[in-house]
Symmetry: C2
Subunit: 609 residues, 2 copies
């Protein structure tokens, strides 16, 4: 897991705002729900395209909306406040912040608390609190309506044939409908196959759904710098990651000021925030795993749940009896949470308190609708250790815990590896679906080889695309600095874009009915030499344009009917355009081709689309 | 296809030399063949590792050998000269170089011819010339002995069990033996399943084998700059690409000086050089495809074959009747060679002269042992066009031509796409094997989505890893500048390393018996905090070390038992090392685990390795 140490923040003390090149943030409401405003990014195309603006999924939050003034001290505007207010949760008193929560930061080093205050809400016993409980009770929440519209990219239902044209794919048992309805969302959540991480104390959230019958999501990790210069710099890490497409962000901060920074992040985050509470609990006991106990852990869960954290990584699957299974591994235990719990179990020669107290953890998380991300503390850290007994023993325990959490009303996803060669990836997905009752899978990579430190966004992007195709619901990014150091801004962007590629490649291969629209729009722009449209439709318009301009900087070349690869004389695209005009006159020839096709039989099998 | 325009050449007029960090170039001879010296790269490990130096495949040529003085004017030392001399080929008179060969470069702009001269050899009718002909005749050539040793990474045969441990994988019908013998190589070549591109006029070549039962290979494309400053700068593009791992290099130069530059490249290339002769032929007729004819094409084949080019891309599969099949495509014809031939066919309303003269092309290429790379002129240029009728119609024609080329005694590989979503990749591989009688497949990527210009090394690296796993023999790299501009040195390196990752991930997944050795060595180094070994064992030691040092620059940290991700307090690797020591005392506990395993049945299924 990675932390960000921006090397060149835009302006210290501020965050990146303004639209992404060539686009603007818009809102669209699903039919019959004028109060639900779902964000999209609209990319205008050149008039010659004769196409409506292209609508893309948007994770960037109000930061790219020119109509919104960002005020970090006030926090983001409420999205869910009214919906939550109608649910009748109890107002409660906040747990008092302690010096330990901020790692005993000296007063002169203390980051000021975020002034944005929200009333604390807590679910009562007997009332539905979590999205899972609502779904099981047959209730469609506003969050479900919101994500349905978001997943449809604001499309209305298309005619059957049109959907089918865009939806060829191999789904490995996934069941993506042509059009997502709120009822479909409810049903998927009720079956445990999808989650909407959405703490009732995180009203700023723009809800997103994680499940294999939806668009594949990606997570970016951030963490505090050793010396925090300002809260804004910490929020900027979040803003930067979501600008490029992170669907959720995990705050893996350690050390000083983490309570206050977490507050700043949550009040200013439109995406679900995840944490690993054991990291902070360990800080509270001075860094010695053996000193951890249920009380300090429970206290940390309450602290973070009250702040509005949307999902917790809980390494309750690392059981005492699993630890010896790792002894002969090439790289042992590489998960920090896993090694902390293994250390605790061995120190006390006792079963893990996370496992023994799992019921209580569920009861606590349910009250705020904090989703579980059941941690894979024994994930393989090398190709040699992939798919071994330790890993699969833990996965089996995670399956057992999933059922308990569901019984308790909680939303659950399952974390997965790690380092896995390509031929062992599918087994991970298949076993996870089987053992964990189809709960969403959330993997780190996996890295498909160990031999390229410095390029592990790529070694893992390969595995991420594949496991996303096979059914993984969310992909945790890996940056080029993995195994080596702390990622800077460029590394974070590279990691996010790489994972957007992996997720999108997976959506295409699964035949998500809306995925191919963007490829087609960009390819049309490419073929018609609409250079600016090609840049703007890409995942990273700034880089695409910069690379183009390095070779052909003149503005005239943005409309030139050639590019720098072949030059004006031999442009194959230009030749094809000429051919196309001629082909229209070639009816006779086309007729001959038809004859041949009839005679040649399977030679001219129509392509799948 | 890409050209290189280095932005910051090391020193103008020179090439990059010296060993890759932490390693040295060595030579090893197969048993019984003291005259055959096969290069490897030996990476020394820290004494605490208690391991012999790690031996890696080496493509870098004498440039990384400190014992060799590089003299571009003399060309590289001969590797194959004596072997070839014994085969009794005819000495012949060279075709005279014309002004057109160098694009009519003005005298003051003309790059001087390379002074290195070699006698021209031509195979006679009735004698075996090509590796295919030798193989069919049951003759094991020196080249076959050489590549067998090279593929084994200099290993002697290992005990059966040891091989099996490293060789788990899914091979999709490939038949990788635990140990490669020269006879196995001969048999694979005789069956058309592998080629050793090796023009008899390229004695400097260090032979390499391309076939799905061998290590997956990668190709890098280079091309001349618009203004050529010196021959050395052009050779440097080759030297830089092979330094990082390119197994073959295609020279896609156009315009002025291309004949003379090609000479400089061939005399200084230890790897097979491929070209697309139609590009130069088109230059000779002033850039108008309609003016192409058999005479100018034939003359170009002779010109380049005499220089020693090892393989030619020939787009003989683009037939007149295929052209209308591309008319409704989103991106038409994107292959430059394909569009040139389509243009020719339509202009004349005639069948392609490459198709009609294919017999003569074979006879000509056989005389020099130039291998065919049958071009996929109709490869898809977008996700929308993948696996369509045009693409597969051409593939069928390539299959027909493969059999003709074999009958004529030639070595053949087949080029493939292009842009293909993940779920359509395997069909490409399966059809190619079937249509083309298992001739080696050589693909560009494929790119698994169109939406990330600027990152197409990654969109395509995903597809390349997968198709390599499925059986593709060689992967043509794509750089970050694809679709946008001309790659510079950094782009070329990024493209090569990305493709080394893809090829290695494929070797691992196929279960190549030697592939996992490197992952395991690097992971052991990682686990034991041998930082320098970790860098040196990686594909790009310079970048790995630079990234590490950005965060933890002090030398002391290279031996520190932690890294910058978690810091000294929570290092999971350190905790595991402690655990391992304790686990050795936990016999009783291990016993309990065994009991559980016996009782739990399939829960503890032993992992595949």
């Amino acid at each position: 897991m990675n932390h960000i140490a921006p090397k060149h923040p835009v302006v210290p003390g501020s965050v990146t705002t303004g639209p992404i090149a060539g686009s603007r943030r818009i809102h669209s409401s699903p039919e019959g729900h004028p109060g639900i405003r779902v964000p999209f990014r609209e990319i205008a195309l050149h008039p010659s395209a004769n196409e409506p603006p292209f609508r893309a999924y948007d994770t960037s939050g109000p930061y790219t909306d020119e109509a919104v003034r960002i005020d970090l001290e006030a926090g983001l505007p409420s999205v869910r406040g009214e919906w939550i207010a109608r649910r009748g949760f109890a107002a409660a008193e906040r747990r008092a912040v302690t010096a330990a929560d901020n790692g005993h930061a000296a007063p002169e080093m203390l980051v000021a608390p975020c002034p944005a205050k929200r009333d604390l809400l807590v679910g009562r016993a007997g009332q539905p609190v979590t999205q899972y409980e609502f779904a099981r009770a047959g209730i469609v929440t506003e969050e479900m309506v919101y994500v349905a519209h978001r997943e449809n990219l604001g499309r209305a239902a298309m005619p059957e044939g049109a959907e089918a044209r865009h939806a060829d794919g191999e789904r490995f048992g996934a069941a993506l409908p042509a059009f997502i309805t709120p009822e479909f969302v409810r049903d998927e959540i009720a079956r445990g196959r999808a989650i909407i991480p959405a703490n009732i104390n995180h009203p700023e959230l723009e809800p997103t759904i994680i499940g294999r019958n939806f668009l594949v999501k990606i997570n970016a990790n951030i963490g505090n710098s050793a010396v925090t210069s300002s809260a804004a710099d910490e929020v900027e890490k979040l803003v930067w990651a979501i600008r490029w497409g992170a669907d959720t962000v995990m705050d893996l901060s350690t050390g000083r000021n983490i309570h206050n920074i977490r507050d700043w992040i949550l009040r200013n985050s439109p995406v679900p925030i995840g944490t690993v509470p054991i990291y902070q609990a360990l800080e509270k006991v001075g860094g010695d795993p053996a000193k951890l106990d249920w009380d300090v852990f429970r206290d940390t869960l309450v602290e973070q749940a009250e702040q509005g954290v949307d999902y917790f990584t809980i390494h309750a699957g690392v059981r005492l009896r699993h630890v010896p299974l790792t002894a002969r591994r090439v790289t042992g235990i590489v998960s920090r949470g896993g090694s902390i719990m293994a250390r605790w179990c061995l120190s006390h020669h006792r079963e893990s308190f996370l496992y023994e107290r799992f019921d209580e953890i569920c009861d606590l998380m349910r009250k705020y609708d904090v989703s579980f991300s059941l941690g894979d503390g024994l994930r393989p850290g090398s190709i040699a250790d992939a798919n071994d007994a330790a890993q699969f023993a833990e996965l089996e325990t995670l399956g057992e815990l999933t059922k308990i959490a569901w019984d308790k009303g909680c939303q659950v996803m399952i974390e997965g590896p790690g380092h896995v060669p390509m031929h062992k990836i599918k087994e991970n997905m298949d076993r996870q679906l089987r053992e964990c009752g189809e709960a969403p899978f959330y993997t780190l990579g996996p890295l498909t080889t160990d031999i390229a430190p410095g390029y592990d966004h790529i070694t893992s992007g390969i595995g991420a695309a594949m496991i996303g195709w096979f059914g993984c619901a969310m992909l945790c990014y890996v940056t080029p600095k993995e195994h080596l150091g702390l990622p800077d801004r460029d590394d974070v962007k590279t990691g996010v874009i790489t994972y957007k590629i992996a997720a999108h490649a997976a959506d295409l291969a699964k035949g998500h009915p809306a995925a191919k629209l963007r490829d087609d729009a960009l390819s049309r722009a490419r073929f018609e030499f609409r250079w600016q449209d090609q840049f703007n439709l890409s995942l990273d318009p700034d880089t695409a344009q910069r690379y183009h301009d390095e070779t052909l900087p003149k503005d005239a070349h943005k409309v030139a009917h050639f590019c720098s690869m072949c030059g004006p004389k031999f442009c194959s695209m230009q030749i094809t355009q000429d051919l196309r005009r001629e082909a229209e006159r070639m009816e006779g020839m086309a007729g001959k081709t038809e004859e041949f096709r009839a005679g040649g039989g399977q030679i001219y099998t129509p392509a799948a689309e």
